[in-house]
């Protein structure tokens, strides 16, 4: 049975269509694997019965030669997506017991395409974090271990840490993530998988628990660029229920994947060479540049002068939006309630007990930067800088077709590290946040291993709505990198 888990999403899809395997077999194998990898704490909720029922329905359709683009493929869903009748927590105590009576647009599209839901994955609480350390359900753990220090548990990154751990640990064929400041790309880099953040507006936000509305974007986390392309095609599309959803039609994402980069102009932003960048990050970046050049791309030095302010901008805007988005968790209509003598006390008790430390920090910062007398200095200022950051990208994309940069400034760190220093934790997002602020699509592709034997990703950024270009360049990198390393735990699986 083990071999079945080696199939990637496209491989499994083809095998299902050919009748070589059944969705029930495949799903059962993944459910068994989920059971076997419980230590990863990748899932908050496993929906085994539902998965098997969906698989059987898929098998019936496949037997008739019917079925959607993802028919019978077992995937995991970040627990930020509302799933009808299935516990949805955002990894927060405050959503205790919450079972939505509705299905998010993105997951509904996935089920419509025939995908099978394995369960809901762990994450940083309300998607706020870069380590998965802020989950009320405990940290998800990276399947990878450092070569010299196999006893130390490492973070899978965050906030989509559970999705990343599940895909990397073969406990899901693929998974949905959401990316607000790097929450798909950074964990993809830490766990050696592919993660794609589409252009803002590509995937409907309807039914996804909001963190920062102007930045949140759902995307696929998968083993290969091809897998991610197939999955993103099913997830994306205009949704009239989301006012910020993009009406632009998504081009075919798989047709041009293998076109290569010959003749493309690839921008290398000078400002991403940050002070104190570890040499191995610099090295993998240089390697990526060499691969693309060797494949026929023209390498162009570009400047994104305001990216150095992106992190500060992000840590004003995202908490500001979050402080307002999270006001609805008040113990009245769903989730946790901690009683109090008055309405105000009930609110404060509920929210004080229901939100973890990082969420509380961000609510307080967000509340402060929006408050009377500080709005102009913080929030408005940050939105102005955001304009400049976007402008930098627009100018750069006048000269280049895509941008290549590291995904994260380091490899995966130990569980519990950085937890006492929020600012240090925020620095993990330094390379991912600029594109988030600009709304641009980006993908992280595993490119190599660090000195400690841990995966390192490279990031491809593209023009607004130019996902085909991002995936095309990502595919070229993937080919050149030929990243075949696997976490030790997968030996024998």
């Amino acid at each position: 049975m083990a071999g079945i888990l080696d199939l990637d999403l496209v491989g499994a899809r083809d095998a299902l269509r050919a009748g070589d395997i059944t969705s029930s077999e495949l799903t059962a194998a993944y459910l068994a694997r989920i059971e076997a990898t419980k230590d990863l704490n990748a899932y908050i909720t496993v929906t085994a019965d539902r998965a098997m029922a969906m698989a059987e329905a898929s098998d019936a359709r496949l037997a008739k030669g019917e079925g959607g683009a993802l028919e019978g493929l077992p995937i995991a869903v970040k627990d930020l997506f509302c799933t009808e009748g299935v516990l949805t927590t955002a990894a927060s105590h405050i959503l205790d017991g919450f079972k939505p009576t509705y299905e998010s647009t993105v997951t509904a599209k996935l089920w419509d395409a025939g995908a099978v839901m394995l369960g809901k994955t762990n994450m940083d609480e309300f998607a706020m974090g870069s380590s998965n350390g802020s989950s009320y359900y405990g940290p998800a753990v990276n399947p990878w271990r450092a070569a010299q220090d196999a006893g130390t548990r490492l973070v899978p990154g965050g906030s989509s840490g559970g999705s990343a751990a599940a895909v990397s640990g073969r406990a899901a064929l693929a998974a949905t993530g959401t990316d607000t400041g790097g929450s798909i790309r950074q964990p993809a880099s830490y766990t050696g998988i592919v993660g794609v953040k589409p252009s803002y507006g590509r995937c409907s936000r309807w039914g996804i628990v909001a963190f920062a509305s102007s930045l949140d974007q759902a995307g696929p986390m998968a083993r290969t660029v091809g897998d991610a392309a197939v999955m993103l095609s099913a997830m994306a599309g205009h949704d009239p229920r989301d006012s910020t959803s993009a009406p632009e039609a998504m081009p075919d994402l798989t047709a041009g994947l293998e076109q290569g980069v010959k003749g493309l102009r690839i921008g290398i932003p000078a400002e991403y060479k940050v002070d104190g960048m570890p040499s191995e990050i610099e090295a993998i970046w240089a390697q990526g540049i060499a691969w693309l050049r060797d494949a026929g791309a023209e390498i162009v030095d570009i400047s994104l002068p305001h990216t150095r302010y992106a992190l500060a901008t992000y840590y004003i805007l995202a908490p500001a939006e979050a402080s307002s988005n999270l006001a609805r968790y008040d113990g009245v209509r769903y989730g946790l309630r901690v009683d109090g003598d008055s309405l105000a006390e009930m609110y404060a008790n509920t929210r004080g007990a229901g939100f973890g430390a990082e969420v509380q920090r961000r609510i307080l910062i967000g509340t402060y930067v929006l408050s009377a007398g500080y709005y102009d200095a913080y929030y408005r200022k940050a939105q102005r800088v955001r304009t400049l950051i976007r402008r930098d990208f627009d100018e750069a994309f006048g000269q280049v077709d895509a941008i290549l940069a590291p995904t994260a400034p380091s490899d995966a760190f130990a569980v519990g590290a950085n937890e006492d220093d929020p600012v240090k934790m925020y620095l993990n997002d330094v390379f991912t946040v600029p594109a988030s602020l600009a709304g641009l699509p980006g993908a992280s592709v595993p490119a190599g291993l660090s000195a400690r034997g841990l995966p390192l990703g490279l990031q491809v950024l593209g023009r607004m709505f130019d996902e085909p270009m991002v995936l095309r360049v990502a595919r070229a990198l993937e080919k050149a990198a030929a990243f075949t390393a696997r976490p030790a735990m997968l030996e024998g699986v």
Binding site: T101, T313, L343, N349, R351, Q360, T367, Q383, R384, T387
Partner: protein, 95 residues
Amino acid sequence: MSLDKATVASIATLARLRVPDDRLEPMVADLNAILGFVEQLEQVDTASVEPLASVTGHSLPQREDAVTDGGYPDRVTANAPDPAGSFYAVPKVVE
């Protein structure tokens, strides 16, 4: 700019968060670290720059005026911690 304990306590009240006394002190330190970090934006000249309104450049889509939703009070209160018939209940509000 540096926040003191009293300011953080009042922000917490505004945000309806009960922050116990023993957690207030570390929270003050964390918030000040974050504010210290974001203060670098002061260096950016934004005098002639408009705040970003949208990354897609689209304007607000508008739906037709039709009753297409509602009519399911059971779904509205399905997850309520303290439902009262079709109502939500909260501690009495004194006007």
